[in-house]
């Protein structure tokens, strides 16, 4: 691990910037989380909440960089990732499809630059892949926008939605436009089978960058799709497009395929990247509830950050701050040598998977409630939880139970670097976990947490 000879000034500056942004966002009017139906840009309640969540992600990423004593180059990478997140938020806030496509493209370019900023063959390859897939996603969005504009005469989301539904002469093209836009959103949200940017991009990126990308892209895409569904719902009904079925198919594929592939990984970074993909599936029920109402999206966005931030922080604390390997052959048995950090790592993953006390544990019943009276969604959420729990047990097995591979690493735990300066990063992980549990049980995220709190601390 490269240690700085000069204290990196860029991280404190970035931290101050992120904290300032978070404070500024907190001052913005907290409107009812309903999607706005007018204007070119919608700085409505959901957008403000998304900005708040992203500011939180950038803050956590900057703190991780600082706690890891990372090089200044890392700070520039984090800055690029933060700008990508901002561009994607602009895309999600834009009601003009063409403008949204431009912002998406800008975001992908910045994200690719952030991933490849530090160099290295793996990073460059991931950056190229991210760039290519981002370009493909943008082209898909432009195609959708062009079709919608050509058919409806307007690229404005709400106008196009209204007009598309009244088209009786070219339903095939109208359906194609809607489906293409849906696919574009799915690519950005890392939903299977359009998830390919996530495993390579997230696992190769510096951990603070991965944290931001893992939170920003899926959330911005989910908000953009929420706007699309809100605007196009009458058109979907008129064109007989089963959009709820399509969302369910994406969720099922993402949870089951992503979960299965995560279990087959032999590297902690790739396992975490696939785990993130599975988590993205649980944003989908928040969209399928009632178009226009973004209450559940706001909760799901906060939970997405609360669940994933400790996971990426823990991976960063191990690999960036501690300089430890991530491949399972060398990781095997490490938990027995350093039980406290290993327990923190497994706890972060476990709480994200929905272990009691975590934010996702209180969110899932709310998501299921929103999809009433369908039994398919609760069943899928249960299977998703089971797949994620299996991933947690896989990591626990590698850390605590597996014996070090004799040929790959004769004495893996003993050969690990001493990592004397990784404790601030682990302290950050512990802080993030504490914050997640507090948020989950205080009832600030979901009513289920409040009900539990009322029982545990009656009158408190």
């Amino acid at each position: 691990m490269n240690r700085p000879t000069v204290f990196p000034w860029a991280f404190p500056a970035l931290l101050a910037l992120a904290a300032g942004a978070a404070l500024l966002i907190a001052q913005l009017p907290r409107e009812t989380p309903r999607l706005l139906a007018g204007g070119a840009f919608a700085l409505d309640g959901p957008t403000v909440r998304l900005l708040g969540v992203l500011a939180g992600a950038v803050l956590a990423a900057a703190l991780l960089g600082l706690a890891s004593w990372a090089r200044e180059a890392h700070a520039y990478a984090v800055l690029l990732a933060a700008l990508a997140a901002l561009a994607w938020t602009a895309a999600a806030a834009s009601l003009d499809l063409a403008a949204a496509a431009v912002f998406w493209a800008a975001g992908w370019i910045l994200a690719a630059a952030a991933v490849g900023r530090l160099g290295g063959p793996e990073q460059i390859e991931a950056a190229v892949k991210l760039h290519g897939l981002g370009a493909a996603g943008t082209l898909i969005l432009i195609l959708g926008a062009t079709l919608a504009a050509g058919l409806a005469g307007s690229s404005h989301l709400l106008e196009a939605g209204q007009l598309l539904g009244s088209l009786r002469d070219s339903p095939v093209l109208a359906r194609t436009a809607a489906r293409v836009l849906l696919v574009g959103g799915a690519l950005a949200a890392a939903w299977v089978p359009f998830h390919f940017w996530a495993p390579d991009g997230l696992s190769a990126a510096p951990r603070p960058v991965a944290l931001i990308l893992a939170v920003a892209a899926p959330l911005a895409a989910a908000l953009a799709l929420a706007r699309l569904l809100f605007a196009f719902e009458p058109a979907f009904a008129a064109l007989q497009i089963n959009w709820r079925g399509a969302l369910f198919a994406f969720a099922a594929l993402t949870a089951l395929v992503g979960g299965s592939v995560a279990l087959a990984q032999r590297d902690a970074a790739r396992l975490t990247a696939y785990f993130t993909t599975v988590q993205c599936a649980e944003l989908i029920p928040a969209l399928g509830a009632a178009p226009g109402d973004a209450h559940l999206f706001a909760g799901a966005a906060a939970v997405h950050l609360a669940a994933l931030a400790p996971v990426w922080l823990a991976l960063g604390a191990w690999s960036d701050a501690g300089g430890g390997p991530t491949d399972f052959a060398r990781l095997a048995g490490w938990g027995r040598a350093r039980p406290v950090p290993a327990l923190l790592w497994v706890s972060a993953l476990g709480l994200a998977a929905g272990f009691p006390g975590g934010a996702r544990f209180v969110l899932r019943p709310e998501l299921a409630q929103a999809t009433a009276p369908s039994l398919a969604w609760p069943l899928l959420l249960a299977l998703s939880a089971l797949a994620q729990w299996a991933v947690v047990m896989r990591l626990a097995r590698v850390l605590f139970l597996d014996a070090p591979a004799a040929k790959a690493a004769p004495a893996a735990p003993a050969a690990l670097p001493a990592a004397p300066r990784s404790w601030p990063a682990w302290a950050l992980v512990a802080l993030a976990l504490g914050l997640e549990v507090w948020l989950a049980l205080s009832g600030r995220l979901m009513p289920a947490g409040a009900a539990v709190q009322q029982i545990l601390f009656p009158g408190g």
Binding site: R364, L375, P378, A396, P447, I455
Partner: protein, 390 residues
């Protein structure tokens, strides 16, 4: 804690027998752990702590299931207690099997969390019947999910397995038998048919298993399956309230598990193997143990006799139903498996090379007497097992 707060949490007398079964299971598990040889003091303490944690999580779950608090808050807490069971199970499996059994340990911990995940949705009115039934079904490891129990039998030490099986019946059984699916027409009948067939197959295969702990796991799964099957049958066929009969059967079967573990499992622990091919001649080497190895399975089979009685009544009412006959055959097969295991351990010549269990001591005898009394009371007093969690 103020009296009013305690009253708000008091689960009522219905929960006490279940809590007693879990507590007895935990004590038996600790007794079996104490008999485990070749362990360092630290390993012994860690395993005992994990057993205590498993028992504590199960007790909390029983307590919460009957606690008169609001459903919205109770369900997440109960699901949390169910999920917590997976952690000590992972620790115990890992401690018992080491790195050679790492994959099995992780698999067992994954399956133990599944019922909790299903249960966490049971506060939602439109999901509740499905969620709580499937959660209870999986928690009780009823066939065709008996592989959960048999896999745990391969990974866990004997005492912890006995506790886990008792916990499965105590937590999952009453929830699954809650009558949510009864009387809903074709789905309930189809479910009953599938369950009867699966129970029949699992029970019939029990006697063919060479491993004592796997036989015990299958026996417990079959009892869970039979109880759920009875709860799904119409009242007119069973000849009484199906839920009450099912829960009484569950209670008596769960109460027999600590006895089985002490009577059959402890000699296996002392001998260092659960392979029945190695066990023989207890009557010659440790007479009291040998006698108990013969008596204990008989008591357990008698304790589980409420199920065949209810099934026989249903068979008479339906003028012979092939699937119910299969379920009855499952009960016979599972019981036969236990009786044969006891007979094998008691009779014959001791094998050369196998460790010979020492004769029973006073403390163990007292615990055995307590387990015996609990099993007999659980069977003779069906009124103990009243009601199911809301």
């Amino acid at each position: 804690m103020p009296a009013a707060a305690l009253a708000a949490w008091w689960p009522g007398s219905a929960a006490l027998p279940w809590a007693g079964v879990v507590a007895l299971g935990a004590v038996t598990a600790l007794a079996l752990e104490a008999a485990q040889g070749g362990l360092s003091g630290r390993a012994r303490a860690a395993r005992a702590a994990a057993v205590v944690a498993l028992g504590a999580a199960a007790l909390a779950a029983v307590w919460l299931a009957w606690a008169p608090v609001s459903l919205d808050g109770r369900v997440p807490l109960t699901a949390a207690a169910w999920w917590l069971v997976a952690i000590p199970v992972l620790v115990l499996a890992a401690a018992a099997s080491g790195s050679t059994g790492a994959a099995v340990s992780a698999r067992v911990a994954v399956t133990q969390a599944a019922p909790a995940i299903f249960y966490s949705f049971s506060s939602l009115p439109f999901v509740a019947p499905f969620a709580s039934f499937s959660a209870g079904f999986v928690r009780a490891a009823a066939p065709p999910f008996h592989s959960m129990a048999t896999e745990a039998a391969g990974a866990l030490p004997a005492g912890a397995l006995g506790l886990l099986l008792a916990v499965g019946l105590a937590l999952g059984g009453p929830v699954a038998c809650g009558g949510q699916f009864a009387g809903t027409g074709l789905p309930a009948r189809l479910l009953a048919a599938g369950l009867a067939l699966a129970t029949g197959v699992a029970g019939a295969a029990c006697a063919a298993d060479r491993d004592l702990l796997r036989r015990l796991a299958k026996w417990a799964s079959v009892q869970g399956g039979l109880a759920i099957l009875i709860s799904l049958l119409p009242e007119a066929e069973v000849g009484g309230p199906p839920t009450a009969r099912a829960v009484a059967h569950l209670g008596a079967s769960a109460a027999a598990l600590p006895l089985l573990l002490l009577g059959l499992g402890r000699p296996a622990v002392l001998a260092g193997t659960s392979d029945l091919a190695v066990h023989a001649g207890l009557l010659r080497t440790a007479r009291r143990r040998g006698v108990l190895a013969l008596v204990v399975p008989v008591v357990a089979v008698v304790a589980s006799a409420r199920a065949p009685l209810a099934l026989a009544a249903a068979l008479a009412a339906t003028a012979g139903n092939a699937l119910l006959t299969a379920a009855l055959a499952g009960w016979v097969g599972a019981g036969f498996g236990l009786l044969l295991a006891g007979y094998r351990m008691a009779r014959g010549e001791p094998r050369a090379g196998g460790r010979v269990p020492p004769e029973m001591r006073v403390g163990e005898g007292m615990l055995m007497a307590l387990c015996l009394a609990a099993a007999v009371a659980a069977f003779a007093l069906p009124s103990l097992w009243t009601g199911v969690p809301r």
